[in-house]
């Protein structure tokens, strides 16, 4: 069973584009906030040493800003539903991987605070996540296997099952 399915948190229903690379959902807490999750290919020109069939994607996540037409990943919404939002994002990863199995995910927060939020989400579910994914953390331009308590500038997540890693 997919571990991201097993997470017991509630989650919001999502909408997506046809390519399953952009997801939207509505956070309902103190306010009603439209959220977006976007997976964008990074290794277009530079492949970072990967073979062609492996694709590296960046995961961007944040509040949808209608005026700018972009994701605001600096926003601090404090909407009182962080765990539900993170569980929803985790579910979009599961769905993305279903349609894009040969992909690695690169995640970096817009701020150190946002990176800490990601670390909390990963650390809370680490034992379960490691059954299905390999996770690396980047610190001072050095990758190491993810370790609870360390602070990271970015994360790399590999789906063990899809890539037979």
């Amino acid at each position: 069973m997919n571990i991201l399915n097993k997470m017991k948190f509630e989650k919001y229903p999502t909408q997506s584009n046809a390519n399953k690379s952009i997801f939207s959902f509505t956070s309902i807490g103190r306010n009603v906030i439209e959220k977006r999750v976007q997976f964008t290919q990074i290794n277009d020109i530079e492949n970072y040493g990967l073979p062609k069939h492996i694709t590296l994607y960046n995961l961007a996540f944040g509040d949808w800003n209608e005026e700018s037409g972009d994701i605001d990943d600096f926003a601090r919404s404090n909407n009182g539903d962080t765990e539900i939002v993170l569980a929803t994002v985790a579910n979009t990863v599961r769905e993305f991987w279903h349609y894009h199995p040969d992909s690695l995910l690169f995640i970096t927060g817009s701020t150190s605070e946002r990176n800490r939020l990601y670390q909390i989400a990963i650390s809370k579910n680490l034992n379960e996540l490691l059954k299905e994914a390999t996770i690396y953390g980047l610190t001072n331009y050095y990758w190491e296997e993810y370790s609870i308590g360390n602070n990271y500038d970015a994360f790399l997540i590999i789906n063990k099952r899809n890539l037979l890693y």
């Binding site: 509630e10 919001y12 952009i22 990967l50 579910n91 690169f106 817009s110 690396y136 331009y141 990758w143």
Partner: protein, 54 residues
């Protein structure tokens, strides 16, 4: 807090054609700059390159 739109079961996303337009717009290109900068300096983890690298 309203919980009327919260789901407990895993479900697939519902298709929204408006999001296809956003895909074409490449809205997150600015956000890739930081990712590419970090990757250009750090590369990928050695075990990953040993597994998948050419």
């Amino acid at each position: 807090m309203k919980k009327t739109n919260i789901e407990h079961a895993s479900t697939n996303s519902r298709y929204n054609p408006k999001l296809d337009y956003l895909d074409a717009k490449d809205m997150s290109s600015k956000k890739l700059i930081k990712a590419k900068e970090l990757l250009s300096k750090a590369g990928l983890p050695k075990p990953i390159l040993e597994k998948f690298g050419k």
